[in-house]
Amino acid sequence: MSRKPSISKGGSGPASISNDDMCPVCKTIRYLNKDMEFLINPDCYHPMCSNCVNRLFNDGPNQCPYAGCHQTLRRNKFRSAFFGDLAVEREVDIRRRVAAVFNKVEDDFETLRDYNDYLQIVEDLTFDLVSGDDKTKAKAEAVLKDYERQNKAEIERNRKAGREAEEGARRRLAAEREAARQRRLDAAREAEEERLEKARSNEEALDQLARGDGTAARVQLKRRGGHRTTTQAPDTEEVTGAAGRLSIRGLKEKKKAAPESTGPYDPFAGYDYRPDRYKLRDTFANDWLNGFARDPKHATGGYDVREYYARAMFDAFSGLGVFIDDEKETGGLDMSAAEVAEFGAGMAAEQSGPVVAPSVKMEVDDVFA
């Protein structure tokens, strides 16, 4: 989107500056005045050069110089347009104005539906203001003014709340940035300390060797021991001076604890799929399946004839120990408590429903009832 109208090349539409090199009022061309700047007034959005504005409106309010435009303009309202297309400029202004008045947020509404309805109303009003004809525009304007007058206090409150929220967000962001900077600084300082420590211990070792007390091995041993204490030191330091880095430490602990608490992932949620009654073998004698087992057409697609074996064997032996006659009569042998309750309720409904009220229809939605 082109920004300044003075830079835009060949604006489009009647309201935009059709010839950006010539002021439509005094007909001055850019060739004569290199610093020519176009200004508009939000009352009528007619562009004219700054010289014309100074000339016409220096002595107080005056009529717009455009033919047929009877708006009375004041000089202090003139400004340079932000958008090349002045229609867009005008719409943005209107939207800004409406948004300042209708400044409720989603939290003010009970349901999302209500909020959406509110947004719809606001959008309708805005649309009328932007592209309605004179009558609807006037009407919408009146509605807007009316609303503003009636809800003055609330609008002010919302505005303040919005500003506060914005401020809070900004502060939070700044605090986060500051914390990050602090962490980086700490890390750098630590690294530096470590480096110094290492250099010092090296020097010490060399000194000891030079002084000649003890063999090289002992010196090494000593050094290691000394080093151990220094490696322990940062740990304690981390514990004591870690007030600023609490979140990081917590993260570590969580990671360690997680696998212990849940154990390995079980996709079947504790369900055992091993067969009890039969044994699955890799091959079964089955004449008509042998063709498939060897057929590359099937094997390429990922088919394994053992899938069929598993299914057939499962079908052959599943439910052998389910005695429907007994189980359904007694309300279930191996049912869980909830299932039994449900089943019992179903039975009760079955028994009481039709007997008590023989006029109960077989279908709920009976057309001819």
């Binding site: 009654r277 439910g319 052998l320 389910v322 057309v367």
Partner: protein, 429 residues
């Protein structure tokens, strides 16, 4: 509980569609009683509406001569038209007889259409399940039969074109087939997965071959005979409701070759309780004795002698039922005139006592749709002008927006409707 049984207990076939014989009988009786009540009510209301207009004519006709001749209105004449309004209904036993007749019809249709085994079995089970909670007098079995065939194909993963499917039947349109589809789904409680004994038979045969000491020819002949039985007998009896597929399979196998079925049962439930050899081995490693004892107990419960006898008993009872309808009866009995002599009067009786509103499924469905539409319109009108205005505004702003809002609106209504009906699964069981 064996893991295989636990898994079977999760199926809808077990949870929704397994009954003890007594339960099934009582459910069928209830269905019959409800159908009677409903049909006599609708018939009576029709009769009264027509007779009230008749009566009006009668009084009008009577009023003229009443001024002249003082003839009293004979009360018997008034009651006469209402007494034949309640026809003789089918009894539950007769309904079952008719249902079996239609099951055979369905199997014949399957033979004609050359459907796959699983499709025909699924279709048959669908029909049988549907008429557990719905009476033959309420919905036309000839129509539901076609719908079951069509839907059974779909349930088994074969998707025929409804119109082309209908062409294979005389005087049938795709609309007629589809009219009963949702009804069927409701009647099935939306449980479309039927577990059949066919693959189970393959498993048992594989297991038999594995034993290695049985003549292969014998196994093959038993296999084909059992398949034949499974394709017919379970479908015209109630065994799908009372037994699990593996039990039905073993019963069919024992009908084909009793020894082989017994062999399977004996090999499966092979665990012996007090095996001295096992006892001794346990003595040697005392450490795992507790765990071993627990395993032993579990094994004896799962594959012990007790379980074996129980399973054998169930299989024998299933076998008894299957033996009543061997595959030969398809032609020897159901095709013979003696069965027609039984079913023909029943069909004649059915013609008189069927539900006049629901007999024509296409008209019934249209009426239902019309009513639903009416309801929607009423609801939309009741919601008032506010909504309509918004809709108009939206459609002014842009066609797309208007369409979207309209959609949302419609969906809303649908959801509300679903919430309103207490049971989306159709009528009470």
């Amino acid at each position: 509980m064996a893991s295989e049984d636990a898994r079977y207990r999760q199926s809808t076939q077990y949870r929704l569609w397994s009954f003890s014989p007594a339960q099934l009988a009582s459910t069928r009786e209830k269905t019959n009683a409800l159908a009677r009540a409903n049909i006599s009510e609708t018939l009576a209301s029709k009769q009264s509406s027509s007779s009230s207009s008749n009566g009006g004519n009668l009084t009008a006709a009577l009023s003229a001569p009443a001024s002249g001749a003082n003839t009293p209105d004979p009360p018997s004449q008034r009651h006469n038209p209402s007494t034949p309004a309640v026809p003789e209904f089918l009894t539950p036993a007769e309904e079952l007889q008719l249902l079996n007749f239609f099951m055979v019809e369905l199997i014949r249709a399957c033979n004609f259409l050359e459907l796959r085994t699983d499709m025909r079995a699924t279709a048959a089970v669908f029909l049988r399940r549907f008429y557990v909670t719905n009476s033959i007098m309420t919905y036309p079995p000839t129509e539901m039969l076609k719908t079951c065939l069509f839907f059974g194909c779909k349930a088994e993963g074969h998707y025929p074109n409804a119109a082309k499917f209908a062409e294979q039947f005389p005087q049938t349109t795709g609309e007629q087939i589809l009219a009963g589809e949702f009804l069927l789904c409701q009647g099935l409680r939306f449980a479309f997965d039927v577990k059949h004994p066919f693959r189970a038979l393959e498993g048992a045969i594989m297991e038999l071959r594995r034993y290695g000491d049985i003549d292969d020819k014998r196994i093959s002949s038993a296999h084909s005979r059992a398949r034949e039985i499974l394709k017919f007998s379970p479908l015209v009896t109630d065994v799908y409701f009372h037994y699990t597929p593996s039990q039905i399979m073993l019963a069919a196998l024992s009908l084909a070759d009793r020894e082989l079925a017994e062999r399977v049962i004996h090999e499966t439930f092979h665990h012996h309780h007090h095996d001295p050899a096992a006892e001794q081995t346990k003595e040697t490693n005392r450490k795992g004795s507790a765990a071993a004892a627990a395993g032993e107990q579990r094994a004896s419960r799962l594959i012990g002698v007790e379980m074996r006898d129980r399973v054998a008993g169930v299989v024998a009872s299933c076998r008894e039922i299957l033996a009543r309808e061997p595959p030969e009866r398809l032609t020897a009995y159901w095709g013979a005139p003696e069965s027609q002599q039984i079913t023909r009067p029943l069909l004649r009786k059915l013609k008189k006592c069927r539900d006049p509103d629901r007999w024509d499924l296409v008209a019934y469905q249209n009426a239902k749709r019309e009513q639903a539409r009416q309801k929607d319109e009423d609801a939309a009108a009741a919601r008032g002008g506010e909504h309509a205005q918004r809709g108009r505004r939206a459609s002014l702003d842009g066609g797309g927006d208007g369409a979207v809002f309209g959609d949302v609106h419609e969906r809303d209504v649908k959801r509300r409707k679903v919430a309103k009906t207490e049971d989306p699964f159709g009528g009470p069981l």
